[in-house]
Symmetry: C2
Subunit: 237 residues, 2 copies
DNA sequence: GCTCCTAATTCGTCTAGACAACTAGTCATA
DNA sequence: TATGACTAGTTGTCTAGACGAATTAGGAGC
């Protein structure tokens, strides 16, 4: 593990303060000069951390006034790379997961190509139903290269999200994800699993997640029912 | 028009070079010290411009190697706030627009509240069909406060995108947009206009665009057929 | 009470450097 | 021919300031 740059350490520290409630929504952060003194860095370095926090909507900056912890909106926020559960966490709803399929499976050629392995090599394949307040909300079909998480078990997916398992247990440093969104009609099989009608409209998402070293970490296709919108904020150029 | 900061001027200049092909995809930019000399600023200021270009995928930076113009993927890129046409511009397809409805219309209460005007005040309402290569791809239903673009005409929408009309002709400085995505089945009316079956799955997007001064600039609901995916890149936290 | 002005506070922009980390070559050597 | 060390070039990180722009609180004057 290479040592993280200081602005990253400061960013992580403030994120953890926001996550665990030490810095509640709406709270004002110490001003930039104070932060610089406290962390023992120059103001420019603190600003680099705040730039990241701002870009990811953890904080709102107001010139002349201060920097404040952002209020969260309801829905699934797509601006940060995070688990399905975290995306919804601010809603105070119960997000659960039911694994309906878990095996090590020979990969088809397109997935093999994506993962940079040989066709018919083994990868994890996990299908899960995500429920919100006990109601099925989405179905996920994930491929994970065996090398990324050799000891992945059905149990390890129960207690924690795949994202936290990968980043925590396997030390994978995530970089970014490319996501493709379309509307589709549910197949009979998928509809049955989600308790919906065949052909019911659903949001199909094909996501490829990359690690910091450039390797592909997972390829997930998911179908989300229309009652669960995705939220997205786009910055002006 | 307040004078733009230097990093923004440099950003705009490089974007325009990329847009018009002077900097083609894959080309290497001058190094940061060169750019600083050319624009007569310090390297940190150039880096601020490059940070923005990087965040919006205009360029890729490789430590030790250089900064390069990014290759574009096919589809509609949602990471930047830009017009429907610009989202698809890199695909070398012909994006056209057919205005099927244009009038000044009393706003319903929810829109009035959003715009900060009184219910039954007047706003522009524009419905358009967007076509890609002559084929209907999406239907857009937009509300624009009268005050934002008092002289908006049907003709002005023909020759240029709404975004460029607002930013160019009316000097509106855009800040960001909040977007909500769901899958829906098309209504009979919408399906007919898009040449699709009633109930065909479509991506419904409800977007609210904000100006830099905090005012709402437009509220657009759009329905996109399933053949035209949206692309999105999500950064790790 | 009210308005206007001023001062303090805060974030925004920008400088001119320094050194570290990384990449892609070149060149000597086994 | 391969390998490894070296080097030039590039972006990454960081400093210690300076001044500008926006907001807010408080006081002076009415």
């Amino acid at each position: 593990m290479p040592r993280a740059p200081r602005y990253r350490v400061i960013y992580d520290d403030i994120v953890s303060q926001i996550r665990d409630g030490r810095l509640p929504a709406g709270a004002q952060l110490p001003n930039e000069n104070d932060l610089a003194r406290r962390y023992g860095v120059s103001r420019m370095t603190v600003r680099q951390s705040l730039d990241m926090l701002d870009a990811e909507r953890y904080v709102v900056r107001r010139q002349g006034s201060g920097t404040f912890v952002a209020e969260r909106r309801s829905g699934r926020h797509l601006n940060r790379l995070q688990s399905f559960g975290d995306e919804l966490a601010a809603d105070d709803v119960d997000v659960t997961s039911e694994t309906i399929h878990f095996e090590e499976y020979p990969v088809p050629p397109d997935i093999a190509d994506l993962f940079g392995i040989r066709a018919d090599d083994i990868a994890h394949r996990v299908k899960r139903i995500r429920k919100v307040g006990g109601v099925p909300a989405a179905l996920q079909d994930a491929w994970i290269p065996y090398a990324v998480a050799p000891a992945l078990t059905r149990e390890s997916l129960l207690e924690d999200s795949l994202y936290r398992t990968l980043t925590g247990r396997y030390g994978v440093e995530l970089s970014h994800a490319d996501q493709e969104l379309t509307a589709v009609g549910l197949s009979a099989d998928h509809a049955a699993r989600l308790g919906a009608e065949e052909g019911a409209p659903a949001l199909e998402s094909r996501r490829i997640t990359y690690a910091a070293d450039g390797n592909v970490v997972e390829r997930v296709t998911s179908w989300t029912l229309q009652e669960f919108p995705l939220l997205l904020r786009i910055e002006a150029q």
